[in-house]
Amino acid sequence: MDAVSIRDTVLSVFRKVAADQGRTLAPLSDELPLLKCGLDSLCFAIVVASLEDSLNVDPFNADEWVDFPVTLGEFIKLYDRTAA
């Protein structure tokens, strides 16, 4: 999957999880800190599970330690790198 598709998939999962969980998402941009995006930690667990389902990768379950990204842009890049 190319980088554009991964970005689209990530953004679409964020929107779906927010809608399902009754959360209001902040306007999505690369600079948006994840802590301020409107999702809580359980929502992020659902995001990671959903992305594993659609992209078949889980960057947080790799052998090497991965720090949780700070911004939405870093989050998308992490999936780009892992899926590559």
């Binding site: 399902d20 667990a45 990671v48």
Partner: protein, 243 residues
């Protein structure tokens, strides 16, 4: 058909649970190190009945096997409805004499593996926004029994895990409960001598031991419609031994 993973499914309680819930119409994804003739026979008699038992090999004492197992089950059978964390060892021993490696192995199999398996299985349940987790604990987790201190610690830990996880994922429609069987006649309790058995029965309100089928029916209850509003609790099945 709803998929329910049952660990330690090849014998004892796990086999009885698998037979019972498969007969109730679930597709049991039976996990064990190796299939037994009893499990194969149970799968055979179910053919055409509406339920099913599908066997997969996994050594749950080796945690790195768990994530690939869940991925392959999901690919082969689809989303999970239920998980019954039944696999466990009941190693008996005076703590002071137990080998460190045996203590560690018991904690790995009885605590770490069910927690990891639950982590990966609930990911699928979170996406589906529903599911049932049943952890098989033991009355030893809250009453204590000489020679079972490590086993008791592992079962108490499953109860703590059950209660907190129930609160964590309840809002997604996933229930998490534990069943605490008393002493049941299975291979795990064969070390008990006749006098110990009689003592257990004498001390039980109903003057008998519970059977594996009682535990299996309790699992079926928690998986079914009747269990939809029960979460974060421990169901004791011990013929009144701890009453």
């Amino acid at each position: 058909m709803r998929n329910v993973i049952v660990t330690g499914a090849s014998r004892g309680l796990g086999l009885e649970i698998s037979r019972t819930i498969a007969a109730a119409g679930y597709r049991v994804l039976a996990i064990a190190r190796a299939p037994t003739d009893e499990l194969k026979e149970a799968a055979r008699v179910l053919v055409g009945s509406g339920g099913a038992i599908e066997f997969r090999t996994c050594d749950l004492s080796d945690p790195p096997q768990i994530s690939p197992l869940v991925r392959s089950l999901r690919a082969d059978f689809g989303p999970f409805y239920g998980l019954v964390n039944n696999a466990g060892a009941g190693t008996h021993g005076v703590l002071g004499n137990m080998r460190d490696l045996d203590i560690e192995g018991l904690i790995r199999l009885n605590v770490l593996s069910p927690i990891l398996l639950t982590k990966y299985v609930t990911r699928s349940m979170m996406i589906e926004r529903g599911g049932r987790i049943v952890n098989i604990a033991s009355v030893v987790g809250f009453t204590g029994y000489s020679g079972l201190s490590v086993y008791g610690a592992t079962k108490a830990s499953l109860i703590g895990f059950t209660r907190s996880l129930a609160r964590e994922i309840g809002q997604l429609g996933i229930t998490v409960n534990a069943i605490a069987p008393g002493f049941i006649d299975t291979a795990m309790t064969e070390e008990l001598n006749q006098s110990q058995r009689e003592q257990i029965m004498r001390r039980s309100a109903l003057r008998r031991m519970a059977d594996a089928i009682d535990v299996a029916r309790s699992v079926e209850f928690l998986l079914g419609e009747a269990g939809r509003n029960i979460t974060g609790t421990v169901l004791t099945v011990d013929a009144g031994n701890t009453a």
